[in-house]
Symmetry: C2
Subunit: 516 residues, 2 copies
């Protein structure tokens, strides 16, 4: 680069677009390639969309969409009141060169099959030669780190002690439902879900969370992921700004990105999401948070911070999505009131799931909505899929009504505590460059900091070599994070997925692998 004074200039010459294919996608790929090649370096200012459109002879809309995509993926950033710049790309966020080549190939075959995600679906060679531009843009789905499958192992995250689930009871309730089904329930049902189950969930939340809500406010979903995705589809317009915790739950980030949201990662400290940073974001009116037990750090949001967050929502006329994914697991002290219980102006959408009490594959979750949102959410759900499968809802309702659910929660809490104790007592610490285990007051996982990405990688590889599954904290950051890469390093350990004996064995193997 001949000029080094900021802002660096950007020369669109050399970008050649083929009008037979999607222009947005070609422009996106061309710009992305230049960033990856370092032909466009961090801090370079990009032309206004209008100017670039004129220079290339294409519609402004195509440029805006290409910029949006690059932005969502962290390749470019906007500076308020200034313009658009090539972002400072952290090492970890730089896709391998191979990936980018595959993306280019995808353009000619018409499909971004190169965006490998580790999904196990077998994808034979495409017989689709060309896909039209609209489809191309839509098909460019963000990389979603799929949760690991296969038999549960220590220390898988997001999996409860479901080996303790009373399957015999569940089998009996299922058989009873199917032997004498009420035929009228086998036609099309209410998109918001089984009314009996909705009533039981409302009663449960009132007593266990102090969340005053009615059955009519509950919308049943296919797990927490669909609840989050529904919020994204209904509340986010393309280009809307969305605040998420950083580090945070990437599957939620993907749902917002698919809806066209521009993601802003907001730091998390010992009290939860940094509300000062949130307040500084302009034009942002939607925040996704995990107050009961921050994912992945494990922090419990303080009451002061909860109130600040609600004040932010009122001030900005915004929404807060409260994901209470493992709220059943609280081990000491009185649980803090959920945001939805503190909310006085109907701005909190509460996400709950049965996946962390029963098992993930059940795909049964729910939203507690401000009353006015129930109707539009139900309508959208009806268009998306009519409603959820009928027997799972009916059987869960019976499971709750008969008292099995409350008993099972107590059993699961005890199991999680004893499995946590096994992890704590057998942990091969202190380890060089690794912080000590934190005090755990809630949830099914904990996280420890590691002093560099290199060390994190080393520890994970050594663990994997002895068959122990540990998740890197670094993969929970948004690509455009300002946090220096080494400060993103850490280990996330789920402690509930397997019985105590397996935990002890895994720790023994870790001790040898890590030399602890």
């Amino acid at each position: 680069m001949s000029v080094i004074e900021p802002p660096l200039s950007f020369n669109p010459a050399g970008i050649e677009l083929d009008r037979r294919f999607g222009l947005t996608r070609q422009l996106y790929l061309a710009l992305r390639q230049r960033v990856l090649d370092a032909r466009l370096v961090s801090g370079t200012r990009l032309p206004a969309s209008r100017d670039l459109a004129a220079a290339l002879g294409i519609s402004r809309n195509s440029v805006v969409r290409a910029y949006d995509q690059l932005y969502a993926e962290g390749f470019i950033e906007t500076r308020v009141g200034d313009g658009t710049y090539v972002a400072q790309l952290p090492q970890a966020a730089m896709p391998a060169k191979k990936l980018s080549t595959k993306l280019s190939t995808a353009l000619s075959t018409g499909l971004p099959t190169g965006l490998s995600t580790g999904l196990s679906t077998n994808c034979p060679d495409s017989s689709v030669k060309v896909i039209h531009s609209g489809a191309l843009d839509r098909l460019q789905i963000h990389h979603l780190a799929r949760p690991p499958s296969g038999p549960p192992r220590a220390f898988r995250v997001g999996v409860p002690a479901f080996d303790l689930f009373p399957f015999e009871v569940w089998a009996k309730l299922n058989a009873a439902f199917w032997r004498r089904p009420d035929l009228q329930h086998l036609c099309y049902g209410d998109p918001a879900g089984d009314m009996r189950l909705r009533g039981l969930i409302a009663a449960y939340l009132r007593s266990s969370r102090g969340l005053q809500c009615t059955a009519e406010q509950i919308v049943i979903t296919s797990g927490a992921q669909q609840a989050i995705s529904l919020c994204a589809q209904l509340l986010v317009e393309p280009g809307d700004h969305v605040a998420i915790e950083n580090p945070g739950y990437q599957a939620a980030a993907h749902a917002f990105a698919v809806a066209g949201g521009r993601l802003h990662g907001v730091a998390v400290d010992s009290e939860g999401i940094d509300c000062a940073a949130l307040n500084a974001l302009e034009h942002c009116r939607l925040a996704y948070v995990t107050p009961s037990h921050q994912y992945p750090l494990g922090v419990v949001m303080s009451l002061a911070r909860r109130l600040e967050l609600l004040a932010w929502a009122e001030r900005t006329d915004g929404w807060v999505i409260e994901d209470d994914y493992d709220g059943e697991y609280r081990y000491s002290g009185a649980p803090l009131a959920p945001l939805a219980a503190l909310d006085r102006s109907g701005r909190v959408l509460y996400v709950g799931t049965f996946g962390k009490v029963a098992f993930p594959a059940l795909r049964l979750g729910y939203l507690v909505l401000p009353p006015g949102l129930v109707e539009p959410f139900s309508r959208r759900r009806a268009i998306d899929m009519r409603h959820s499968e009928v027997s799972t809802q009916a059987v869960m309702a019976e499971f709750m009504a008969a008292g099995h659910f409350q008993r099972h929660i107590r059993r699961m809490r005890r199991a999680a505590l004893s499995r946590l104790a096994a992890l704590q007592s057998g942990w091969p610490g202190p380890l060089p460059g690794v912080s000590g285990l934190p005090t755990v007051v809630a949830g099914l996982h904990l996280s420890v900091r590691v002093d560099s990405l290199a060390r994190e990688r080393q520890l994970l590889m050594q663990a994997e070599a002895v068959g122990v599954e540990i998740t890197g904290l670094s993969r929970h950051w948004l690509p455009d994070s300002s946090t220096p890469p080494d400060q993103r390093a850490g280990l996330v350990l789920g402690f509930a997925a397997v019985p105590v004996a397996q935990i002890a064995q895994a720790l023994e193997r870790l001790r040898q692998a890590w030399g602890g």
Copy 2:
């Protein structure tokens, strides 16, 4: 109006927008109100979006979005190479004044709760005072005619003879699954679905439909509706043109509208969708069709028309979504090959469902995709909801593998035929203004034409008065249809939902009500 020469001019003076709220929505409401008031009459040319944006001092994007909404709802139409005009509104498509007032109210309360859909969800008064503009646009979900619920009655459409489903077998298979679950299947699964079920579906389609496909091409969905909705979300960009049969399946139309598609209703004749009309649509590269048994007319698409449709897809570089919702029910002659079996260039997405063989509330369907689309569809599905509930898939796989499925299809086909015969023998015809019953070669419903909307309404009301459920053909047209209102009239009767005795009783009551 002082000037009557076309095009009539439009004066934006008097449109006042409040910048504190969503501009798109306000503009949409203002224009819509003017159309409903006949202040803007049919044939009036609307200004180009750029000009109207300048006149109102708002962004062009807001105007484009408002126009899109009005267009999708049939209030305005575009003339190729010319401009945008206020549409000729058929009487039936004109919402009552009350509805429009409710919509205006919705703006101040922040929610379009006035768009009553007959959904049974109870919606208490909104505590949400103001919703931001992005949300408003998204929440404006189209009216979805929800399928009737309650106990099945003669002549409900879309419901098979599910009183004959072997519930005892299903109960046993469910209990067996839950008693000895494989724990590794209770964590997170493949977003494309249970591989065993996918293999069995592929084998079934190969033998029953001559559709050469592999397990890897199958993606399991929550019913046909989710399959259609997924196609809409992945293949339709806002503003894309989408062709659907007219009359047609409105729930599919809603899915495309939610994805931002501009709907074009294409006429259906005795051979299926009118391909000449389809070929005349410019810029349209996606068509949704029901070739095995057109919904709602019941026409089977001819082979010539199938080939024409595939040629259209090749020529336009487009996609065809083939909804084979009741393809199991073929009563005479060899079934024609599905489009997906004739397709040589990977342009057909085939939608199938278990809802019409088992029962609708099962919510189990599938897509057969061109191989290159499987990966992007799976990824999107993972973000939307991870995957479908695990036991329904596993139990259906066992049900198929053990031969129950094939036996049940034969039983269901026989039942549908005898129920059809009961309808034919007891039908109170000939009736004034009503065509004779057609010859039925496929499916679970038939339709007859009626010579006016008034007569249709009269027949439906008289039927409802004696507890007989008949659907008006008129409600299956898109709002912006050019077909004169009276030519949309007819009756749609599902003949499979209830046993022969109930059908005979219903026909006896109809005879009295209709004086046949």
